[in-house]
Symmetry: C2
Subunit: 371 residues, 2 copies
């Protein structure tokens, strides 16, 4: 039975999101998930895929923008045509993940899917996989199961999941009920959450029977549900592109949290499995500094490889360059230098979050080519 | 007589010195004097030449390295072959300036020469020219005349000239005797100099009868003198290159200050004319910031021209890039970003002097191609 249950599991990797705070390294044409930001030798999407293989085998679907088809296939050469869902344009996460659920449901209504963003860093993978295994067992009891991250600081940058009682599920000893999802709090509230206990970061990772996910989508977003089912009906036929082209552009734009997770939690259909693995969404260059600390030489993290020769005199920080060259840093602490063919960013780790505003200013100025 | 006297004046422009503290903008293949560092539209050597024309006409000689021949001719298309002295290799300032003096002396022993480095910024030019005129009248009385700069701060970066009594020379009312040259002092000593008064910065600018200059060179550096006269004898003949190639590499390396100025001052042969013009040797990127203050937009000085689009969010400083691109600066005050094809420097104005050490480190590491 265990074997049967795990064989129902399919991984889904939504690969969207430009990673604006990592501009100009990450940009529309080469978003975050296509980069190796941890020095592991793997891009984030490749690492995400590899993390799922021990549980999902080749049953992994990727949902991404049409423009990234070539890059994704070159990262994941084993992915088959039917499991690569190319969005004609972005319609937010409920459409992306919902379409994957609908296609999988049409193929087999017993599928349990797990959705994991392509641009997160998780380790050790074995701990993640043990957590995921518990989540699959929990989902099989008829739950949408979020993987909650143990907060390491009172962050105001993430939503939280308030966990309730243990669910006493065989093979899922740590699964608990969910009392509520809470939106990004202010820092004081976040501090109270940590003091109270039982609050976990919502990293958007969840495991669910596709039928249950679609049931909540139908209740809360019937128009979106109808459109997705129409596309799913055509998916494994010659009509795929025609129907996708007709229906997709009219789909409502809404995040999966609002369309499914929060209403399902209110209905008592959501559980949580706390993950004690290290998790990072690589939100900005300060995160890149953190994640590459091990490879720092005299306080300098060189993401550009050997051809980039960094000389630091009383300087520390993160350097990326896409060309062979000398980069000299003199007298700046925690500097961030990102050098690409058409754009150069110089900032400090402290200001890493503000890169987003710069990208907005560039957009407002019509500098689309460098974004 | 005044006309005759001024017609004896020849300008000499030693154009050497890489300007290490301005790396990677200024480098062996494109030294400081070949750049427009003030946003004036002229390179420093072109501006130096133009400053001398009202007094020297076309009687201006340039001494530079062989490698810079093409660049100098393109900057100074009016210069004739006989007045472009190309050093086979650098032998310090006494050889460079002494050779110019020797060549001019062989052509006409009555020449009064004025030597002005190619990489200094002076304004207003009219004040400089009035000072220079006084210096020429003073030199004609048989003096080596330095142009002393009114110190604007107790700098420990320059040598000083201690001036003495007024010399009462017609047409040179401000000329004074020189008590001594003093080497770069520490800051406390420099402060005392300013409090005492009569101390001027030695900017290496001087005017002298070529015969008097050569007389002191002969006394103090007879070997150098002999070699230079040998080259000068051959200069305006077909033997020029042969003799230059034979003699030049063996010449003693010594600065003109030690070979001529200081011993001449002890002999009572040196005068000074104080200059009240603004003077800057553009020693580092902080100086570039100072000199371009007028062109700053919201605290950013863009030396890269229009193709370089600078976006600053809570940032100020100096940006140079030799390519069209976006440069985004976020949250750094007084930053200096210098972006060339093979080298990128990021520092702050405060650390601008330390760029020299970085260049030394690069040299020690064999990074000659980027220097």
């Amino acid at each position: 039975m265990n074997f049967d249950l795990l064989s129902r599991f399919h991984g889904v990797i939504p690969a969207g999101g430009v990673g604006t705070r990592l501009w100009p390294l990450s940009r529309a044409s080469a978003p975050k998930f296509l980069h190796d930001l941890t020095g592991s030798g793997s891009t984030l999407i490749r690492a995400t895929y590899d993390r799922l293989v021990p549980l999902a085998g080749e049953r992994i679907m990727v949902v991404t923008g049409r423009a990234h088809r070539g890059a994704v296939v070159s990262q994941l050469p084993e992915i088959c045509h039917e499991d690569l869902v190319l969005e004609p344009e972005p319609r937010d996460s409920a459409a992306a993940i919902g379409l994957a659920a609908a296609i999988l449901y049409r193929r087999d209504p017993n599928v349990i899917m797990g959705s994991f963003a392509a641009d997160q860093v998780i380790e050790p993978v074995e701990v993640f996989q043990a957590t995921l295994r518990e989540a699959i067992y929990t989902a099989a009891t008829g739950k949408i199961v979020t993987l909650g991250i143990h907060p390491t600081q009172p962050s105001s940058g993430f939503g939280y999941i308030q966990s309730g009682e243990p669910l006493q599920i065989p093979n899922a000893p740590t699964a608990r009920s969910v009392i509520q999802f809470v939106e990004k709090p202010d820092e004081d509230t976040a501090r109270k959450y940590l003091a109270t206990g039982g609050f976990l970061w919502n990293a958007g990772m969840f495991v669910a029977p596709v039928g249950l996910l679609l049931k909540h989508l139908e209740i809360n977003e019937p128009e979106l549900y109808d459109g997705l089912m129409k596309i799913a009906d055509a998916w494994d036929t010659e009509q795929r592109d025609t129907v996708l082209g007709e229906v997709w552009p009219g789909l409502p734009k809404i995040a999966i949290d609002y369309a499914v997770a929060e209403p399902a939690a209110q209905a008592g259909d959501v559980a949580v499995v706390p993950g004690i693995f290290n998790w990072d969404d690589v939100g900005d260059f300060a995160a890149i500094g953190r994640l590459n600390k091990g490879s720092a030489e005299q306080g300098i993290i060189n993401l550009g490889g050997e051809a980039v020769r960094v000389y630091a005199d009383n300087a520390t920080g993160v350097v990326y360059s896409d060309r062979p060259r000398v980069v000299a840093l003199v007298g700046i602490e925690d500097v961030v230098v990102v050098d690409t063919a058409d754009a150069l960013l110089v900032t400090t780790k402290e200001h890493a979050q503000k890169v987003k505003q710069t990208v907005e200013a560039l957009k407002a100025d019509g500098e689309h080519e460098v974004l």
